[in-house]
Amino acid sequence: MTLVIGSIQLGFLYAILALGIYITFRILNLPDLTVDGSFSFGMACAAVITLSGHPFLALLIAIIAGALAGCMTGLLQTKLSIHPILSGILVMTGLYTINLGIMGGKSNLSLVGSSTLFMKMESVFGSVNGKTSLAFLVCIIVIIILAVFFKTKAGLAIRATGDNEDMVRSSSINANLSKCIGLSLGNACVALSGALICQYQMFSDVSAGSGMVVIGLASVIIGETIIGKRSVTIGLISSAAGSIIYRIIIALALKVDLFPSYALKLISAVIVMIALSGPSIKASIEQYKVRREARNHLD
């Protein structure tokens, strides 16, 4: 039971990461690799500010930090015309140094002894409920804000930019601006997720972000497979749900010793690979059937 509750808590916290990935990969249709860096960026900022005694401010600063990282990637893509994948890699790589700098040159920072938002909630609702309710609350608030935002004019412009950029430009909307806003929004979510994880596990690790793109994408894909993606609001909800399901599957598999805990990233990579290869595998099967059918007629 504690296992499931633990995965649900982690699921909600990483759900915010999945929401960020959903915005950049699905809505904006951009392969954004800033994520690995901005996750650690949020974590590093949150660690230092929480240690100084401001756990709530830590989250706000992390959000702003993530947004700045996303905006930087957007500017590289649009103003300097650097390839989207490379733009993300450049910012991610640069952030590694910045994150180490923020954490005073140390690759780990422990929060032991300082007060986090989770502790505040625990003192009111008890140990388990406190953590779960905070994770749930933040996740729901982010989903509601995003769902409303994507119904506004700016939100519609971002959706259209991912769908048909030419059409957006010919509707007299600055597509470059839309991309920057979308990337900022996505990475703000990612950094917030990093900040919450930092307060949850009581430490910050400069390499915590590595592989987060794939983990987030796996959650998005699991959610889409199970719930679907009819509209943006449903897509957001399904991404969050996908994150929780992902965490439960992983926890159960670890519990029965299906694989060692360090296999996590390989599993995520395989999930994404299988999900993305679905259409081509289906096409191969079709082709095989056609060939067999044709042979029957030739005999």
């Binding site: 119904k151 506004t152 004019k153 939100g155 519609l156 412009a157 959706r159 259209a160 769908d163 048909n164 030419d166 059409m167 957006v168 430009r169 010919s170 509707s171 007299s172 909307i173 600055n174 597509a175």
Partner: protein
């Protein structure tokens, strides 16, 4: 002056692709063109004459090498494409290009309408929706009952009709139509052409239309220009245009072509 307002003014517009290489291509060669408000110009010319390039130059897909472009007496030569799009509507041959396939009809129209609609928070609202329903109903395609349908599910003709609405929904100063019926089946093409003329006439939008249909070029609009090798080689309107037949136009075209060929030969000798 005759009191009509000058809407589009192209002054010595030139554009060369790959300058200084073996592939150098003078796509626009010192184009001068003046359109008055309400002009409906049809543009003809062989493949590669520079017709689409002329539209690209006006819409700002690239910056021109020489010359100036004025729209409604405002210099737009250095404006980026999305800023020009505030006043210029543009329709391409490919019906897939003008709409966002995974968004609904209503959302596509709302996006195009953000240009001129009142400042509001949400993209979709009741008063805009009733306006959209009205203009969709005028198309007579039954689309007004399918506002929540994703545009990707519509036929090419239906998508082109939606794009036409999106291009004209904010009363542009200039409408550019680049063979916008060429990819459609004959019946759909007729329908779209009819809708086009209805919208243009009703809103008195200054329009330029590229077409391969010489008969349509002479029967629609009030002025016809012919392009060849990046130049305007014929520009007729009024009485002269009324009397011109398709055959005469074709003869004229091949004569001009030959003249150019002999000139080239003279240069070679």
């Amino acid at each position: 002056m005759n009191g009509l307002k000058q809407m589009l003014d192209l002054r010595n517009v030139s554009k060369t692709f790959y300058p200084g290489t073996v592939n150098e291509k003078k796509a626009l060669n010192c184009i001068n063109l003046h359109l008055e408000q309400g002009d409906f110009v049809t543009i003809i010319g062989s493949n590669g004459a520079g017709k689409s390039t002329l539209f690209n130059a006006i819409a700002g897909s690239f910056f021109i090498d020489n010359g100036a472009i004025l729209l409604d007496n405002k210099n737009i030569t250095a404006d980026p494409d999305y800023k020009r799009a505030y006043d210029i509507g543009r329709l391409m041959q490919d019906p897939m290009k003008g709409t966002a396939p995974s968004m609904t009809i209503e959302e596509n129209l709302a996006l195009a309408y953000t240009r001129k609609s009142k400042k509001g928070f949400f993209a979709l609202n009741k008063s805009d929706a009733s306006h959209f329903r009205e203009i969709l109903a005028a198309l007579d395609l039954g689309l007004e009952n399918r506002m929540k349908t994703k545009v990707g599910h519509l036929s090419g003709g239906q998508r082109q009709a939606i794009t036409l609405l999106m291009c004209t929904i904010s009363s542009p100063k200039l409408l550019l139509l680049d063979e916008h019926t060429a990819a459609l089946d004959p019946a759909a093409a007729q329908k779209i052409l009819k809708i086009t003329t209805d919208i243009v006439n009703e809103n008195k939008i200054t329009t330029m239309m590229i077409t391969h249909d010489i008969k349509a070029a002479l029967s629609l609009g009030n002025r016809t220009i012919m392009m060849d090798e990046g130049e305007i080689i014929l520009d007729i309107k009024g009485d002269k245009r009324e009397k011109l037949t398709v055959e005469e136009l074709l003869t004229y075209y091949s004569k001009e072509r030959k003249k150019q060929l002999t000139n080239d030969r003279m240069l070679l000798i």
